[in-house]
C-alpha cells in the first residue's frame, strides 16, 4: 500500500475479549479519542477478530511507526492513556499491516512472560503491555487465521480488501471443479474436525457420485469442551468460511449448502447471519463474486445444544429438523446425505484453509507440515515423529492450567512441548506440566514425559490420544486422573443420544465404576471390569461418540495406572 494509512487501534471483539469487557473498553477508547480532539482519519479505532491471547483480554493492538504493539487487560478508565500512547507513537502514520503478513513478523526470541514490562517503568501501561515477540505470537504461522485480528468481522469491504472471495472468483471463472479438487488433493489437507480424513478424497467421493444434486455442509458444531478454534474463525472471519464453503460447492457441483453452528455460539451466529445477508444484498455469490449466474445458496442452521450433532450423520438429522441421532454408515453422507443426495460435510477450519491453499497452491501448503518434520525429529527422544500424512497448519486452543491461554496456529509436526511450554509458558505458578489433554472427550492424555511428541495425526494416535479438533487442555500437578476420566465420562453420559445400547447404558456404568475410583472405594476387580467395559463400548457403539467415549479412561489408565491402583482398597469388602 502506497497511501499512508492512519494509525489504528484494533480492539478484539471476539467473545473471550467481549466477556472480559472489550465492548466497554472500545466505547471508552472512542470517547477518549473524541476528548483528545483526534479524528478517525488520524487514529482509527475498530473492532477486529481474535488477537489470540484470550486469557489476557480485553486485547487491543496498535499499529504505528514502530510496528504493532499489544495490550491486554485494560479497563475503560485507562482508555485515554492508551489513545495517547497509540497517537504519540503513530506519528507519522504508518501503513497497515499487509494482508498476508501475520501481525508479528519478528524472529522467535524466548522472552519469559508475555507481560514482561518492555517500556520504562514510567510508562503507566507498561504492565499491560504484551510482548509480540514472545514465542506465543512469534511461533504462530497463520494460514487459516491469517485475517483474524486484522479485519472487522462485520465488514464485508474489509474482508474484500484483504482478498476475500478472490479465490472463489478465480475458481468459478478459470478453474474446472476437477482442477480445484486436484489442488486440494495436492495440499494433503485432512479434515480438521478430528477424524483426519483426506479432504481431497472426500471431495472426489461427492463429486464423482452419479449425476444429480449435491449439497455442502460446514460443520460448526464445535462441541469438545476446551475447543474454540472454529468459534475463533466464525467470529473473526466469517467470510473466510463462506468462501471456503462456496469453493467446495463449486468443486463438487453443489448449488445448495448449509452452515451448521452450535447455538452456544451466539456471536458467531450473529456474524454469520450478517455475512450471509451482506452477500444476498449484493445479489448472491454468483453475481457478487464470480460475475456468473451461478445460483449457489447457503443457509445457516443453528443447533440447540447437542454435542452429538458434531457427528456427521447426526448433523444431517439436525439440519433436517430432527433429533440428532446418528445412523449407521455406510452409506456415508458423501454417498447419501441430505434428502438422499450426496453431501459434503467439512469442518469449519478445514474449509477456512481452502482459500489460501488455492491462492498459494497445494504444494505450498503441503510443504508447511513436511518442512517441520526434520526439525521435529531432533529434540524428540523416543517419541514418534512421523508426519507422513500431516501437512499444513493446525489451529489449537490452549487452555487449562497454562499461563498463556488462547488460540495458536502452528505447523503440524511441531512438538507438543513447544506449544505447551515455549508458547503457552507451562503451568501457572511454575509447577510442572502433568499432562496435556488433547481431543476432548474423544481424546486422551499425553503425559509430561511424552511432551516431545510431534503434533500430527499418527504420532498422537500412537499414544492412544488423538490430535482431535484442536482443543488442548494443560493439566497441572493437582488434577487427579481418575477424576478427569470421570469428568469426561460424565460428559459422554450427558451427551449420548441414547440410540444405541453401549453408549446409552455403557457410559452410565462406566461413570458409576469411575465414581468408585474417585471415592477411593474401588476393588481390584473393578479395574478389570472398567477395562472390559471400555473395550466393549469402544468396539460396539454405533457412532464416534460412543466409540471414543472410553478414550480418556483408556489413555489415563495407560499413562497413569498407579493413580487407579492407589484408589483400590487392599482388603476385599466382604472379608
Amino acid at each position: 500500500m502506497s497511501k499512508p494509512a492512519p494509525a489504528r487501534l484494533r480492539c478484539c471483539d471476539a467473545s473471550a475479549c467481549r466477556n472480559a469487557g472489550g465492548l466497554a473498553l472500545r466505547q471508552a477508547l472512542l470517547a477518549a479519542r473524541a476528548a483528545a480532539g483526534l479524528q478517525p482519519t488520524s487514529l482509527a479505532i475498530g473492532a477486529v477478530g481474535c488477537l489470540r491471547l484470550c486469557g489476557r483480554g480485553p486485547l487491543v493492538a496498535a499499529d504505528g511507526p514502530g510496528g504493532s504493539r499489544l495490550w491486554g487487560g485494560l479497563s475503560p478508565e485507562q482508555a485515554a492513556l492508551l489513545v495517547a500512547a497509540a497517537w504519540v507513537d503513530a506519528d507519522p502514520p504508518l501503513a497497515l499491516a499487509s494482508p498476508q503478513a501475520s501481525p508479528p513478523a519478528s524472529p522467535p526470541t524466548p522472552v519469559p512472560p508475555a507481560s514482561a514490562p518492555l517500556a520504562s517503568s514510567s510508562d503507566p501501561l507498561a504492565s499491560y503491555r504484551l510482548d509480540l515477540s514472545h514465542p506465543f505470537f512469534s511461533l504462530q504461522q497463520p494460514v487459516v487465521l491469517e485475517h483474524c485480528g486484522l479485519i472487522d468481522p462485520d465488514c464485508l469491504d474489509q474482508a474484500l480488501a484483504h482478498g476475500a472471495y478472490s479465490q472463489l472468483r478465480r475458481c468459478v471463472r478459470q478453474l474446472t471443479p476437477e482442477a480445484v479438487r486436484q489442488e486440494v488433493r495436492r495440499s494433503g489437507l485432512r479434515g480438521r474436525g478430528g477424524a483426519g480424513y483426506p479432504t481431497g478424497l472426500k471431495w472426489d467421493t461427492v463429486a464423482l457420485q452419479p449425476p444429480g444434486p449435491r449439497l455442502v455442509v460446514a460443520n460448526g458444531d464445535e462441541g469438545d469442551p476446551g475447543a474454540f478454534m472454529d468459534r475463533t474463525v466464525l467470529e473473526s472471519d466469517p467470510h473466510r468460511l463462506l468462501e471456503g464453503l462456496a469453493i467446495a460447492a463449486w468443486a463438487v457441483g453443489a448449488e445448495r449448502g448449509y452452515v451448521y453452528v452450535r447455538a452456544e455460539y451466539p456471536l458467531a451466529i450473529a456474524r454469520l447471519r450478517r455475512a450471509l445477508d451482506q452477500i444476498s444484498q449484493r445479489g448472491g455469490f454468483g453475481v457478487a463474486f464470480t460475475g456468473t449466474p451461478w445460483p449457489l445458496r447457503l443457509e445457516l442452521r443453528v443447533g440447540a445444544g447437542a454435542y452429538v450433532c458434531g457427528e456427521e450423520t447426526a448433523l444431517l438429522q439436525s439440519i433436517e429438523g430432527g433429533r440428532g441421532t446418528p445412523r449407521p454408515r455406510p452409506p456415508y453422507p458423501a454417498q447419501r446425505g441430505l434428502g438422499g443426495a450426496p453431501t459434503l460435510i467439512n469442518n469449519v477450519e478445514t474449509l477456512a484453509a481452502i482459500p489460501p491453499i488455492l491462492r498459494q497452491g497445494g504444494d505450498w501448503y503441503a510443504a508447511i507440515g513436511a518442512g517441520n518434520q526434520a526439525s521435529a525429529d531432533k529434540p524428540a527422544s523416543g517419541a514418534t515423529t512421523a508426519t507422513l500424512g500431516s501437512r499444513g497448519t493446525k489451529v489449537f486452543s490452549l487452555s487449562g492450567a497454562v499461563v498463556h491461554t488462547g488460540v495458536v496456529e502452528v505447523p503440524l509436526g511441531m512438538p507438543l512441548r513447544t506449544v505447551v511450554e515455549t508458547m503457552g509458558g507451562g503451568v501457572v505458578g511454575g509447577a510442572p506440566v502433568k499432562a496435556v489433554q488433547t481431543g476432548g472427550p474423544s481424546g486422551g492424555c499425553i503425559p509430561a514425559a511424552l511432551l516431545d511428541t510431534a503434533l500430527d495425526y499418527e504420532a498422537m494416535a500412537s499414544l492412544g490420544s488423538m490430535l482431535g479438533s484442536g482443543g488442548m487442555v494443560v493439566l497441572g500437578p493437582h488434577t487427579a486422573m481418575p477424576e478427569l476420566a470421570r469428568y469426561f465420562m460424565g460428559f459422554c453420559v450427558e451427551e449420548s443420544c441414547g440410540k444405541c445400547l453401549p453408549c446409552r447404558a455403557g457410559t452410565v456404568q462406566l461413570a458409576a465404576l469411575l465414581d468408585r475410583f474417585v471415592a477411593g472405594q474401588a476393588e481390584a476387580a473393578d479395574l478389570d471390569r472398567l477395562e472390559a467395559l471400555c473395550a466393549m463400548v469402544k468396539a460396539t457403539s454405533l457412532c464416534g461418540l460412543g466409540q471414543s467415549a472410553p478414550n480418556p479412561v483408556l489413555a489415563t489408565l495407560r499413562h497413569f495406572r498407579p493413580e487407579y491402583l492407589a484408589a483400590c482398597r487392599e482388603e476385599p469388602r466382604w472379608a
Binding site: S15, A16, N19, A20, C54, G55, R56, G57, G223, D224, P225, G226, A227, F228, R231, A263, E264, Y265, P266, L267, I269, A270, R273, R301, V302, G303, A304, G305, A306, Y307, S318, I319, E320, G321, G322, R323, G324, S397, S399, G400, A401, T405, G406, Q437, G440, G471, V473, V474, L475, G476, T479, L484, Y487, F488, F491, E494, E495, C497
Partner: protein, 176 residues
C-alpha cells in the same frame, strides 16, 4: 445479537405468551417447512420463554408433523425448555478448562449457597457445557451476564466475590 433463544432467556416470558397468531406468522416465515422445526422452536422459545405444550401442538399442526416427533425434538436438545424459565439462573460452565480450574468445587459451593436462597430469590443453579470462555475459567453465567475468573477462595472472600457478581447476599442465619 442473533435471533435465537439462550438457555436462560427471561424477561420476555409472558409478554406475548399465548399469541397464537405470532406463532403462526413465525412458522410461515420459515415457509411452513418441517425441516425448519429447530429454528421454529428457537424462535418460539424466544417469544414465550419456553416451549409450552399448547404451542408445540400448534407447531406440529402447522408443520404437519406428528406430535410425538415434535416432542422428541423439543426434548432432545438441551437448550430447549419445556417449563417456564426461573426468575434467576446461575449456570456453572463445566468445560474442561473450567473443570481443571475448579468448576466442580465452585458448583458445590453454589449448590449449598443457592439451596438456602432458592425459595427467597427464585434462583436456580444449572450446569452448562463449555461456554467457550476457556481462557477465563471458571466461568458463571448469571442470567444474561457472564462472570469470569471466579476463583475459589476461603469463604468470606468467595462470598464477597459472589455477591459482587450479582448473587443474592447470604442471609444472617446462614452467614459464617
Amino acid at each position: 445479537m442473533a435471533s435465537i433463544g439462550t438457555p436462560t432467556q427471561r424477561g420476555c416470558s409472558g409478554a406475548v405468551a399465548g399469541d397464537r397468531e405470532a406463532i403462526t406468522r413465525l412458522i410461515q416465515l420459515q415457509g411452513d417447512d418441517p425441516a425448519a422445526l429447530i429454528e421454529v422452536l428457537h424462535q418460539l422459545q424466544q417469544i414465550e420463554g419456553y416451549l409450552a405444550a399448547r404451542s408445540l401442538h400448534q407447531v406440529a399442526r402447522q408443520l404437519r408433523l406428528p406430535l410425538s416427533r415434535v416432542y422428541g425434538v423439543a426434548s432432545f436438545y438441551h437448550l430447549f425448555r419445556r417449563t417456564p424459565p426461573p426468575v434467576h439462573c446461575c449456570a456453572v460452565c463445566l468445560g474442561t478448562a473450567c473443570f481443571v480450574n475448579g468448576a466442580l468445587e465452585l458448583l458445590a459451593v453454589l449448590e449449598l449457597r443457592l439451596a438456602q436462597q432458592a425459595r427467597a430469590g427464585g434462583w436456580v443453579l444449572e450446569r452448562m457445557g463449555c461456554l467457550g470462555a476457556c481462557g477465563s475459567g471458571p466461568v458463571l453465567r448469571l442470567d444474561q451476564g457472564l462472570a469470569i475468573r471466579v476463583r475459589l477462595a476461603p469463604a468470606p472472600k468467595l462470598d464477597a466475590q459472589l455477591e459482587a457478581i450479582g448473587l443474592p447476599p447470604l442471609g444472617r442465619a446462614t452467614a459464617r
